[in-house]
């Protein structure tokens, strides 16, 4: 498939716009010098990922990403950033000294992964644009073939909920402990 063929399909224009947007936002997440900007660039990245999922006929997963990640996880991150601001407003740099070795490691990792993908999948196509995935199929297989992982993920969520509350609970002061004991 030549570049001219590829670029003549409108699907690939959409892919280019979404892909470039996603990569730019991801790059700014890891290089931004402002905490809040990094979290907001993650919103951009995950929005781009959701758009790519719609291109790949995974509409349910795209909407789950918007609901769960953009609707809850990012809000959690912003609360976490707000709570863990240094009180004196010290302006410590957000990156440590090892940027060049980290960049080398990251580039080598990208090279290996991309080379592996190109070797393994050559010019395989994802052809069926516009054929939606039946959400009922996802529901059936969640309660059918994948019921055990489904239940285990429920346990994981319960454990993380209880564990998070217990870990972040405020310790009682000695006065409050005595009051609790005397009741």
């Amino acid at each position: 498939m030549t570049l001219a063929d590829w670029i003549s399909q409108p699907v690939n224009w959409v892919f280019l716009v979404l892909g470039v947007g996603t990569l730019f936002s991801a790059f700014r997440v890891v290089t931004s010098q402002n905490l809040i900007h990094a979290a907001l660039y993650l919103v951009g990245t995950l929005g781009g990922v959701a758009g790519l999922f719609v291109l790949l006929s995974a509409e349910f997963v795209a909407l789950v990403i918007i609901l769960v990640y953009l609707g809850a996880v990012i809000v959690l991150f912003l609360f976490g950033i707000m709570i863990t601001r240094a009180p004196t407003g010290l302006d410590v740099g957000l990156d440590n000294d090892r940027r060049v070795p980290a960049a080398i490691v990251s580039l080598v990792l990208f090279g290996v992964l991309a080379y592996g993908s190109l070797i393994a999948f050559g010019s395989d196509m994802v052809n069926e644009v516009g054929i939606a995935t039946d959400t009922g199929v996802i529901g059936t297989s969640l309660l059918g073939r994948f019921v055990i992982p489904f239940e285990i993920v429920g346990f994981i969520l319960l454990a993380s909920l209880v564990g998070g509350i217990t870990v972040a609970r405020r310790d009682l002061t000695p006065l409050e402990e005595e009051q609790r004991r005397s009741v």
Binding site: V30, L46, L56, G80, T84, L94, F110, S117, I138, S141
Partner: protein, 101 residues
């Protein structure tokens, strides 16, 4: 759409996440980079599902599990970071070296 255009994009997201994980000093930003890595993995799963078109939407179901576990992990991770911040007034991961030799 060629499958590799998505797979290389996912590899780039993963590599950017690894860079952020290694470089960032603030613990919350390290968690953000982990989210980038998981997003890359999700793209791979969905692309393979779109190529194979299984009768049970296997790739999409696994992607849902990954999203759910990532959300749970972010909750616990932030709870731990908040406790660390409460005790030390700083969320700098370079300072957490008590268990290093």
């Amino acid at each position: 759409m060629i499958a590799n255009q998505f797979l290389v994009l996912a590899a780039a997201l993963f590599a950017l996440g690894v860079y952020g994980l290694l470089v960032r000093r603030n613990a919350v930003l390290v968690l953000l980079s982990i989210e980038l890595m998981l997003a890359g993995v999700n793209i791979n799963l969905i692309v393979f599902e779109a190529m194979l078109r299984t009768s049970e939407a296997v790739g999409q179901v696994f992607s849902l599990f990954v999203i759910t576990v990532a959300a749970a992990e972010v909750g616990i991770g932030l709870a731990i970071i908040i406790m660390i911040f409460r005790n030390r007034q700083s969320a700098n991961v370079d300072e957490l070296d008590l268990m290093r030799w």
